[in-house]
Amino acid sequence: MVNDIDLEAFRQEVKQFLADNARPEILEAGRKSTSAFAPFKEVMAWQKILADKGWAAPSWPKEYGGPGWNIFQRYIFSEECARARMPTLLPQNVQMIGPAIIGYGTAEQKAQYLPRILTGEDFWCQGYSEPGAGSDLASLKCKAEREGDEFVLNGSKTWTTYAHHANKMFALVRTDSTGKLQRGITFILLDMDSPGLEVRPMLGLDGEYEQCEVFFTDVRVPVANVIGQIDDGWSVAKYLLEFERGGSAYGAALVPAFERLLQVCNKADNRGRRAMDKPGVRRQMSDLYIQLRALEHTEKAVNSKLSHGDNPGPTASMLKILGTEVMQLFSEVQVRVAGFDALPLQTEALHVGSPVAEIGSGDFLTAMPYYLNSRAASIYAGTNEIQRSLLAKAILAQ
């Protein structure tokens, strides 16, 4: 077990590294992140820097390029990155496809993909949801028919975040529709420049393009690109979903964000008045702080019980509910503290390197888009309704 002094030294080491490597445009991308998906170019540049240091994938086993940190070190790393306002690495590479290949890939697949996942030379998008298969993922229809050593894909995917930036996709496709819905699904890798593949970005509530639809017309993919067994992609997806739900440390990002918000609340205006003097703000901040700490220590408590690389199982549902709902609460408190500053639409000022001046105090450029994007948190990766049912199932099975 790592004792407190080691952790403090580790924290200092992280701080120093961040201070030394936080290039202005990367910091600007962090400051202008309005969701889990930071501005693409800059966050990938940051990933490359981290990869060079060996810190791009804190949760990966050491043999595949992980730094070998324990859970407390990982939490400190996330926290300090958030405190320094670094952009958060896009989850698709390191948190999604990486663990899937580590868990289910062949030696060849690991050698072929993992290094480029770490550096970001490849950027992956996730082809899971379909227009008719959201919460009910198992009903997906995107068809892959075998022709010799290839599958031929027809159908479509939706909610494919950053598909317009990706050169690779991992997808769930239907290879058999005769049996139980969960059977006959295959987890497959493909190139985004494959002939017959078309991407259509969708305009989000915040005025930005994050989500895409992807259409497949006779797209050919080698059978060698299957991860795990043909028709058994559901096992890979389920494994990954639990990673996606449980692995991320919402608290590590939110606690520093709360500290910044509190600083603003404690700032006196030219008449000497602070937001923290208003009863409503006091009470909201106070309750929010409790929820944040409860989240942080739930994440730490749960994760500290897991060995390295363990899958949190049904507890992941609880972490997902708690993490996303505290995030939403934070976004609501923040947008209320922002008040009038949250009202101007500032899509252009939000672009990294934009010459457009920010309107307002400058403390709340992202408050409204962050609030809006946070609404998706209780929808993505299995709605919180689904999570509650899963959690209940686990409770009732005891």
Partner: protein, 376 residues
Amino acid sequence: MHYNYNSEQDLFRDSLRKLFKQQYSYEFFREQIKSKQESAPAIWQQLLDFGLFALPFGSDFDGLGDDPGYALAAMEELGYGRVLEPVLATILMPGALLNAADNSSITNGLIPQFMAGGSTIAVAWQEAAAGFKPEEMATSATAEGDEITINGEKVCVLSAPAAQQLIVIAVDQLQQANAYLLDADAPGVTLTAYQTVDGASAANITLQNVVINKSAQLFNSAPLHKLQSVLAYIHLALGAEVVGMAERLMEITAEFCKTRFQFGQPIAAFQAVQHRLADMQIATQKLQSLFWFALDAYAAGDYIPVNMLKAEIGASGVAIGQSAVQLHGGIAMTDELSVGAYLKRILAIELTMGQREEHLESIAGSLSGELEQAPA
């Protein structure tokens, strides 16, 4: 006490609903947003043909404003149809201030001109730090001789970029709040224009040593009382808009839940979905009930119930918007459906003219006997 519009108001409402249904589709709304136009000339002209300029003015000016029901019915329909036309910003707000004004040197000439569409006026009310209560404004109006000098900063002044004149709320040397009329292009007036998150045209305005004539002051007697009355009118109008939005969100969402299939059945078959719909309905009913209560009290000169309506928007109103998004799922996170546009508007209203928590504090002040309305 009544819980519905009168039959004439209902007819008026039906006409507006028909107009918006036929000519103000969500596709049309999206185009307006994209082109950053809050008002579409063709729609605006039809609204004027309905006589919308009569809404805030009393019978002295041949207006319909002695009964606020007409204006509120219009606001409800603007909410229901998620219509961007700036009725509140360019008709009701300046109109209500002019209607309440007792400075005939202004009103005699300006009101007929305004009602004929001959003057566009924006109201500069809110301030970043001081909020929305007239008596707490930091913007100052310093009288000296025949002149008044205005200094201050106003935020989120709706429809200001296209306005010819501004009415500015400010406090004089005695800390007495009043309203002042000035030209939008007067020396010392600087606008920072923007589109708001809910598609309105707005500006933050700096007023630096803006000199106007003493006669530009709207209220001679009981200015705070009149400003509080207009403020309550604005709160009611926002309440009506939210009621309209809540009603429409209920319809849209119930319909979606019946037609969206997951796990082999419409999602309306799931108890979690049913109960969320039930909660949305209850929240909608609460807003409706508080709206009629507030309207009745407003007519009797009691504005605390209006605070209650505005406060509940920040709870029930926001909850309805958020629930509608949640029940629609991912598609509501895009601009393909109108749901998100409703949520953005509801949230903007919550952030406008006093948030829930500020109104809760006002209500508490009244309950504890500390707070009183300004005397008439």
